[in-house]
Amino acid sequence: MAHSTDSVFINLGPVHPSTHGVFRMRAHIDGEVITDIEPVFGYLHRGIEKLAEGKSYRQVIPLTDRLDYVASMNNNLAYCMAVEKLAGIEVPERAVYIRVIMAELQRIISHLLGIGSFFNDMGTFFTPFFYMFIQKEKITDLLEMVSGQRLLFNYMRFGGVSHDLPDPFLPALSQFLREMPAEIDKYERLLKENEIVLARSRNVGVLSREMAINSSISGPVLRASGVNWDIRKADPYSCYDRFDFDVPTGSNGDCYDRYRVRIEELRQSLRILEQAVSKLPKGKVINPVPLRFKPPVGEAYSHIEGNKGELGFYIVSDGSDKPYRMHVRAPSLLNLSALREMLIGWKLADAIIIFGSIDICLGEVDR
């Protein structure tokens, strides 16, 4: 059937309910199908890397909170590890364990949000999202106990963490660890075998193994494509080499696999938390460093397995009390590098959930 169709130029975002912030895509659509797409970044560019050059090392910690604002503990951890590497600061054993506990709790929050908003994009009218938020609030309460904040914690310091765990923390955490597996099973019952979920996400947005590696994608998105790469295993930091956990991988690299990998990672995080709580040593939590300390001239890169992928901080010191240059290897940004190839040829509705399944955080993309 010969017919001519005009393609329509349409702006998806920045003020759009499912771009997870202020992301924008200029799309050409032919009917429902996306024929061309151009991502536009920078709507949340706050110049964090530039601001860091004008602040002392310790003043940068609150800035890193606001990178991936869903998981600020992870950002704190990666930044502090980079500075510790630069200046050769030792961290007490108890603080190492506390950091791991915080990072894993933060990973659970982030994955819950990622899964929840993924289903929101699919059109479930907030029900799974709110179920997950009930658990998220429990973790938020735990983190609020230690830091006094609900979202941007600013908890870690060079050489440790700012405070020791308060007394009610560990009982509350154990309580949470007892309840959470049943909750995850509940989500699974609601969503795992749902025919519509399968129809919408199976074989949708397939990211091949080669493509994922070539595009420098990391984190759950990479693992869903079948690559067993987790920095906690590949280059163990803190004390991850002392824990027993698995790295879940997918096989297809479609949206469904990404969701499944995240669910499995929730379970693995719970395993790590249980081991960390049982092994938590006594002792001090910080080797204090002076407020205006000056690391030696040099540079350091340190990376962790953040909730969205490899989160790295590269810091150059010129010997003063301010970083000469700080660069963030932001997983959200790099996970988007294959976006154009992933979206072209799919329908508008698919594009939204493919984008949602990558689970980005705009604060980290634009910095």
């Binding site: 001519s4 329509v8 975002g13 920045p14 009917g31």
Partner: protein, 123 residues
């Protein structure tokens, strides 16, 4: 029976009047200042995620959408035949059953053909 149709027609007129008045209420309330009215160029521009719309909107759109409307017209004709038949079937009995079955078979052949040709797939 004619009065029933008359009633329906009058009811349609009443409902039309009601819904027109619904839409006109804000215009009437504009005068006393209950409904604000400050039009501006930006306000009456189309909303597209906070940006200017680029390119024309009323374009020659993909035919796939209308295709189903065409199919509907075909099948609507079937329905026109089926409904009177369904009402009278218990009077007609077996003799009234087979003609419609053969009619449905003819339409069904076309349906299977369309399915095989991929007309029902969304491309």
């Amino acid at each position: 029976m004619l009065s029933e149709f008359g009633l329906t027609a009058l009811f349609i007129v009443i409902v039309l009047g009601f819904s027109v008045s619904l839409v006109l209420i804000p215009v009437a309330l504009r005068k006393p200042g209950i409904v604000p009215h400050n039009p501006s160029d930006i306000k009456s521009a189309p909303y597209e995620c906070g940006l200017d719309t680029i390119g024309p909107t009323w374009v020659q759109f993909k035919i796939r959408y209308y295709f189903y409307a065409l199919l509907l017209i075909t099948l609507d004709v079937v329905i026109i035949f089926i409904y009177p038949w369904a009402v009278e079937l218990h009077n007609l009995g077996a003799s009234g059953f087979w003609p419609v079955v053969s009619f449905l078979a003819i339409v069904g052949t076309g349906y299977v053909y369309a399915w095989r040709k991929g007309a029902l797939e969304w491309k």
